[in-house]
Symmetry: C2
């Protein structure tokens, strides 16, 4: 089993590098968005698209076990989206992204959001060729998540802490979550947002623009 | 890959049947508790143990990628617990439960809670030999989770909807979540609880006692 897992990961890593080359050639910013189910990835993307679609070229790849609900939501907010249904699979992989890239006609200097399957475990192991990995947690999930799911936090560049509007009603200490996450990954950046109230979203948009500039 | 997955699942199913026989022989009620990360499984178990430990024999197997935090919390609430760290693994399997059963000295007519890794995808495929599977969702996760993660809802017997105290602050329609879940599994039972306020917890305790009686 261990040998086989390594083979799968090694094959995935190879395909991920091909995607990375593709993104590099086209100066496309590809972001792998990961989280638990229900942390608010799709809602963050809807708001982001509505706010930025007039000035930026935005594209979305949606991963879910079943349904095209998320791609439908994204298309309504104004960006082309493609849905990948993984069936019983628990993560997107490099080859799925490669196939999706062929279908989405992505121009140079675009931003490609890849919304992974809601799962803090398996997607951590599968490089998609993205430049940055963004892990979204919500304040309703408990502040010890970084300790319990360390691989995801270790491999991410930015942690968005969502649903800050609910902070008064839950036992979530932002400082504790950040401390635990930094134990695992001292370079992790944080942005706190509430999609519902819009708080913090400007900081996220600025982060995106900064990433585009350094491509 | 498909063939290999079937081999792994077939081997797991064999070991799960062995556990099922063990539970049957000892009239032990074994419950496989599954959910997203942060839905409140551990908090539900803490409250359950504090409420029932005087009158019932309660044992817990805790699954997490890393840390013994949950087992520590459970032991403090008064029940023997054993922690299984799955490392990079995304689910508990039949063999892990078999090994844990050897260490926990579980008497006849006990309740064994198995808290699976927080993951709505992979644990759905791995039978542990449990009599009942309990899926916990929280009202902060979005009411479309049953459609997006259908295998978990298809294979569960009871759905606990947790954090009802947060209903006034989130866009979660209980009826919608139930409707979607019943489309996938018409026999699924529901109990709504708030661990924080205690609302609905008595119904859960009654459900547990009823399961014990029909063993």
């Amino acid at each position: 089993m261990v040998k086989l897992n390594l083979d799968i990961l090694s094959e995935n890593n190879r395909l991920a590098e091909r995607n990375r080359g593709w993104f590099e050639a086209k100066h496309v910013l590809a972001l792998n968005m990961v989280s638990s189910p229900g942390s608010g990835k799709t809602s963050i993307l809807e708001s982001t698209i509505r706010s930025m679609v007039e000035t930026q070229k935005l594209f979305v790849i949606e991963g879910d076990q079943q349904t095209t609900r998320d791609a439908d939501r994204i298309e309504k907010s104004g960006a082309p989206a493609i849905q990948i249904n993984t069936g019983s699979g628990c993560h997107l992989d490099g080859n799925m992204i490669h196939l999706a890239l062929k279908k989405l006609e992505i121009p140079e200097h675009a931003i490609l959001f890849i919304e992974n399957v809601g799962n803090l475990v398996c997607p951590a192991m599968f490089d998609l060729g993205e430049q940055k990995r963004v892990v979204v947690i919500s304040v309703t999930e408990g502040d010890d998540k970084p300790l319990k799911y360390p691989y995801m936090f270790e491999t991410s560049h930015l942690c968005i802490i969502n649903k800050t509007d609910l902070l008064p009603y839950v036992d979530f200490k932002v400082e504790t979550a950040m401390k635990y996450a930094r134990q695992i990954n001292p370079n992790l950046e944080f942005i706190m947002v509430s999609v519902k109230t819009g708080e913090g979203m400007d900081e996220w948009y600025e982060w995106l623009k900064k990433q585009l500039q350094v491509l």
